[in-house]
Amino acid sequence: MIFNVNKNKISNKATLLISILSLTFTLTAYSKADEKRYKEIIVANGGCITGTVSFDGDIPPTKLLPINKDHEFCGKEPRPSPVLEIHQVNKGIKNVIVSIEDIFEGKHFDMSGIRPLLDQQRCTFIPHVLVITAGTTVDILNGDNLMHNVHSHCTKNSPFNEGTTYKQRLSKRFDFEETVKISCDVHKWMSAWIVVKENPYFALTDEEGRFTIEVVPPGTYKLQAWHESLGINTKEINLGPNEELKVNFSCNQK
């Protein structure tokens, strides 16, 4: 069956893995690109990719987002936009997803039982960017004592738009690889991204723009850096056995 993906409800560690496997299995049922689905193997002589994603050129002034309603909870002052955060010293860019796109077998990824959180505090989504693997359930919280709505702009995954109340927890599962924008239509300045990946070879850059991807089987890959406003940069890399490869990306505004 193709459509049984959503029937399983993950409740504990074991079923998560099973469901991910069953997802992989069920997806193969209808797609021509059977061999392109990710397979878990034992990785021998795995290498490691590290590096920095930095901004090319002068650091643009931080955009300020006006707060035009619910000042009691959200504050009055315009706040810096979380869209493009550049480190003042090394120009590293935060919230870039570096990932290997064309890898179809590799490490076992144990996200079992982990339910990543997407919180809402003082009218901001925390974290701003969340990367998960397909089949993961995200818990969405509301830490503000007012109504937010969480609106997912999905095309492959089933979209939702739920009004959330104070201290409420909502669980939503993402089954297909997709970059999903999350917004709150009540507070227009609020935005977040849930990026769903099919393989576990991804990393999110920190404040200084650094990333590390580990246990990568030796080979030639396409390494991709995605940023919500700077777009996609790709690099061809060649990773030897047990190698620690350094790859730096430098991006600018197009």
Partner: protein, 947 residues
């Protein structure tokens, strides 16, 4: 000297005569039995085919039956049956069973008959005594009557007792044998199908070809239809063979289901010579001079219109329906009188030409007339192949005979606006729903790619802001633009130019030459420009073309094929026109539509004798559709009993649909979802979100039970799985609006919010009375939308029809909606369960965790933030929305309008502090509050929004 008569021998003559007589007799018998009854062969052949078919079917069933799996099952059942039988025949049961049978037999044969006999005898005697009593009135007779009555009643009691006993015995017998009969019945199911096939085979095998024909007789037409004498398999449920004439009718259920051949015959739709049975050619009327040769395939679509003249989109008659629509859209009735199109004649299909000098540039006009398709390749205006001189002459007449009444150009447009702002407005206010700019947009209205070469800027500004005061009959709606917006858009449009028109200054001067105008007038009269345009000085002129009301019956000899007759006929396999009048007529019409002046080629003709129909540059499909439609315009009228009676509801829907087409509502609004049927016949209804190489993602709009998927969920579907896809209807502008906002940096899903609202199931959503008012005087409902619902200035009759259409297609009440929510009894009932019902609902409505007012306008009360972030005015809900829809919407907005900004609030166990209850009860409470809203706030606020 002549021989004596007696001596002459006539033996030889007799012999010859005798042989001849025998010969003729044999020939007569042969002719009568075989030559003149070819259907006997067909019937024989059909029987053989049917035998073969049944044989094959039997073998298939037998193989199935003999397969190990089935055999195992069969043996299992058989074993059970044997067991049941042996237990029935075990000594004890057997004795009991036989005892029952014996007693039953004794009752039935020995006891019951004498009792019945006695009772009948007594009844007869009673009748006799009753008669006697009426004669003699004696006490003795009376006594006898009483005795007899007593006897009869006793006998009847005994009979009943016996019958009861018999019934009881029957029950016991059934009980004893129940196991056996159950298994025997089950065993029978294995061979049941085979037995049926076998029986069918025997009856076919014993059937012989008859000398009888099968006939349907149409008394009022004095026509006999004998087609099914040979077309034996036409209305069978199973196809015996695909060989002709034995095949089953294509889409039999659909066509013959509604038109059973026993009543409609075949010739009503397919023509031919219904009586003829002597040969297929004769039966099909494909013989010289026959007036109605057979119609095959889509040609027969034309017959549908004869009994279904009112329906514009006839299912199963797509070709003829398309032809009919083309005939109307191309305005053929402007030059050709045609029955059924009189109602469109009042409105000419092309613009009035009364204000030309105010509207267009002088250098544009002659060039346009000379070569319309050169300037605008997709124009509806046909090509008259005018010479440059003729074009100037016509242009001169039009230029000099414009209306003398000054145009109401109210807005002074001395200065130009901004091209960028004009472009942005043009792209997102909705112009592209009807017009094209380059390749982008719709071809409902003129292509605007070179509008800057044609229309004067000041005219454009005024036209955009209020088209109807310039041309009352135009379909161009009023977009309620401000003067400034009009100026911006006009500035953008004026910049849309093509290559040089190449018209010299001398030519432009000629437009004012009265002599030229005189020449032009002659041309206008000759070519009948007034068939489509209003032109001053041509008022009251008749149509210039021949009447087409019965072109399908026009004698074939009256069609002038020109000198290429042979070549034209050869293409359809004819040697001369009378060989097949239908094919010849069809070929002529198709050729006329393809190359209208070809019949003049190579002949000497004066100007007045020449053909004048212009070139329409039709595609082969369009030519075919028009031809099929035209050949059906005959003077034959079918008896009324065959006509389809359109129900009031259907007619109302049809009228509404016509208006939806007229105003091009589908240019903006999507009316139906995508419908997909999978290979395994699962039906999916939804909206396609994304197409990839191998699959697409469909968000469901209707629940799918077999897949356990709810409305609003997205599922992947691989292209390989799709058997049939009926694409969504309408919403032509949605992709353009989306790409406009995607270019501004939004994601596709975010951009979706800016699309015009989908009208799928709109009748379930809005109250018809409100829709009526809205259509007459639209207001902005969704503050975030850039695209604008125009004011069509439709008549109230038209608005009524459209509002009715939406209600009727959803089987909803029209025009009154019962709002029980505002009634005392309803609210009192609610109070019983929820004290302070509406006040509590208001608490929920205003709760910080729901806070409807955070986004929604409520009359004069507006939310914080930018107006583009606001949501529709809730004070309108009471008059605008159907209450049942509100509840459904509140429970799951995504399920009704995928991608909507409206979140879902009511989930089990939540918001209990404000309004304790289930999500349904909470949503109902909000609905009830909204329906009582105007009472709770102030009625004055509604007045401000137009109600």
């Amino acid at each position: 000297m002549a021989e004596k008569e007696e001596k002459k021998s006539y033996a030889l003559l007799y012999l010859i005569m005798c042989v001849a007589l025998i010969g003729v007799t044999i020939w007569a018998i042969w002719n009568e039995t075989f030559t003149r009854r070819p259907w006997k062969q067909y019937q024989g052949r059909y029987s053989r085919l049917e035998e073969q078919y049944l044989k094959d079917k039997y073998i298939r069933l037998k193989e199935e039956f003999e397969s190990p799996d089935v055999q195992a099952e069969y043996m299992e059942v058989k074993k059970h049956l044997d067991e049941a039988k042996s237990s029935l025949y075990s000594p004890n049961t057997k004795r009991y069973y036989e005892g029952l049978l014996t007693e039953n037999r004794i009752l039935e044969e020995k006891q019951l008959p004498p009792l019945m006999f006695d009772a009948n005898a007594a009844r007869s005697e009673l009748l006799e005594q009753k008669y006697l009593y009426s004669v003699d009135h004696s006490e003795e007779t009376l006594k006898k009557i009483h005795d007899l009555e007593e006897t009869i009643s006793k006998l009847e009691n005994r009979i009943e007792a016996t019958k009861n006993r018999e019934e009881e015995l029957g029950g016991r017998i059934a009980e004893v044998t129940s196991e056996v009969s159950k298994h025997a019945k089950q065993l029978g199911t294995f061979t049941e199908k085979m037995d049926k096939v076998q029986d069918a085979f025997v009856s076919v095998y014993q059937k012989h070809a008859t000398i009888q024909t099968y006939q349907v007789y149409f008394e009022e037409m004095n026509e006999a239809d004998r087609c099914m004498t040979c077309h034996l398999g036409i209305n069978r449920t199973e196809s015996v063979s695909t060989e002709q004439p034995y095949a089953i009718h294509p889409k039999r259920e659909f066509y013959l289901g509604a038109h059973p051949p026993e009543r409609f015959g075949c010739i009503l739709c397919h023509n031919g010579q219904g009586r003829a049975t002597a040969s297929p050619e004769k039966a099909h009327g494909e013989v010289e001079y026959w007036l109605t040769p057979v119609l095959r395939g889509s040609e027969a679509h034309t017959s549908c219109i004869k009994c279904h003249p009112e329906e514009s989109n006839l299912q199963g008659a797509s070709v003829a329906s398309k032809g009919k629509r083309l005939f109307k859209d191309l305005g053929c009735y402007g030059c050709h009188t045609t029955k059924g199109f009189e109602k469109y004649e009042a409105e000419r299909i092309a613009p009035d030409l009364l204000e030309l000098p105010h509207k267009v540039y002088a250098e544009w006009l002659p060039e346009w007339i000379r070569n319309t398709k050169g300037f605008r390749p997709d124009t509806r205006m046909p090509d008259f192949k005018f010479s440059a001189d003729e074009a100037v002459a016509i242009a001169a007449y039009l230029w000099q005979n414009a209306s003398t009444v000054p145009l109401p150009l109210k807005i002074k447009a001395d200065e130009k606006g901004s091209v960028e702002e004009g472009k942005a407005l043009f792209e997102n206010i909705g112009c592209l729903a009807c017009h094209k700019d380059g390749e982008k947009g719709s071809s409902y209205a003129p292509n605007l790619s070179r509008i800057g070469d044609k229309v004067r800027y000041d005219f454009l500004v005024n036209w955009l802001v209020d088209p109807k005061i310039i041309q009352a009959k135009t379909n161009m709606p009023n977009l309620r633009l401000t003067d400034e917006e009009g100026i911006h858009i006009a500035t953008y449009l004026s910049a849309l130019k093509g290559s040089e028109l190449g018209v010299s200054a001398e030519t432009v001067k000629e437009l004012n030459n009265p002599q030229k105008a005189e020449e032009g007038k002659k041309l206008i009269d000759w070519y009948g420009c007034f068939g489509c345009h209003q032109i001053s000085g041509t008022e009251g002129k008749g149509k210039i073309g021949v009447e087409l009301s019965s072109i399908g019956s026009k004698p074939i000899g009256q069609f002038d094929f020109g000198i290429n007759e042979k070549a034209i006929l050869q293409k359809v396999g004819l040697r001369f026109v009378e060989e097949n009048t239908f094919k010849a007529r069809k070929a002529w019409i198709a050729e006329k539509l393809r190359d209208t002046w070809q019949f003049d080629v190579g002949r000497y003709k004066t100007h007045a004798e020449k053909l004048k129909m212009p070139y329409y540059n039709l595609s082969p499909d369009e030519i075919d559709a028009l031809t099929v439609f035209l050949i059906g315009l005959t003077d034959e009228e079918l008896p009324y009993r065959f006509w389809y009676t359109v129900s009031d509801k259907k007619r109302a829907i049809e009228e509404g649909r016509e208006l939806v087409e007229k105003y091009n509502c589908t240019g903006c609004h999507q009316f139906t979802p995508d419908k997909i049927t999978l290979v395994d016949n699962t039906k999916l209804v939804g909206v396609i979100k994304l197409k990839e190489e191998d699959n697409l993602y469909l968000q469901l709009w209707e629940e799918n039970v077999p897949l356990e998927k709810k409305v609003g969920e997205t599922i992947p579907v691989s292209f390989a799985q799709i058997k049939e896809h009926i694409p969504a209807e309408g919403g032509d502008i949605i992709p353009l609006i989306r790409s406009h906002f995607e270019e501004e940096g939004l994601l596709p899903e975010e951009a979706n919010v800016f699309a015009p609202p989908r009208l799928y199931a709109e009748g379930k959503k809005v109250q018809p009375l409100w829709l009526f008012e809205f259509l007459l005087k639209p207001i902005g409902l969704r503050p975030w939308l850039k695209v604008r619902m125009p004011t069509y200035e439709m008549s109230s009759q038209e608005a009524t029809k459209v509002a009715k259409f939406f209600s009727l297609i959803e089987n909803e009440d029209y025009p009154y909606v019962d709002i029980e929510e505002i009634k005392k009894e309803y609210l009192e009932e609610k109070e019983k369960k929820f004290p302070d019902y509406l006040a509590k609902a208001k608490v929920l409505f205003e709760a910080k965790d729901v806070n409807c007012g955070s986004c929604h306008v409520q009359g004069s009360k507006t939310p914080e933030g930018d107006p583009s972030e606001w949501a529709p005015d809730l004070s309108l809900a009471r008059v605008r929305l159907r209450p049942t829809w509100i509840t459904k919407w509140l429970l799951d907005p995504q399920a009704i309008e995928p991608g909507t900004k409206m979140p879902r609030f009511f989930r089990t166990g939540e918001l209990q502090d404000y309004f304790p209850g289930t999500p349904e009860e909470q949503a109902t409470a909000i609905k009830d509050l909204l329906m009582n809203f105007s009472v709770m706030s102030s009625l004055g606020e509604l007045a401000k929004t137009g109600f």
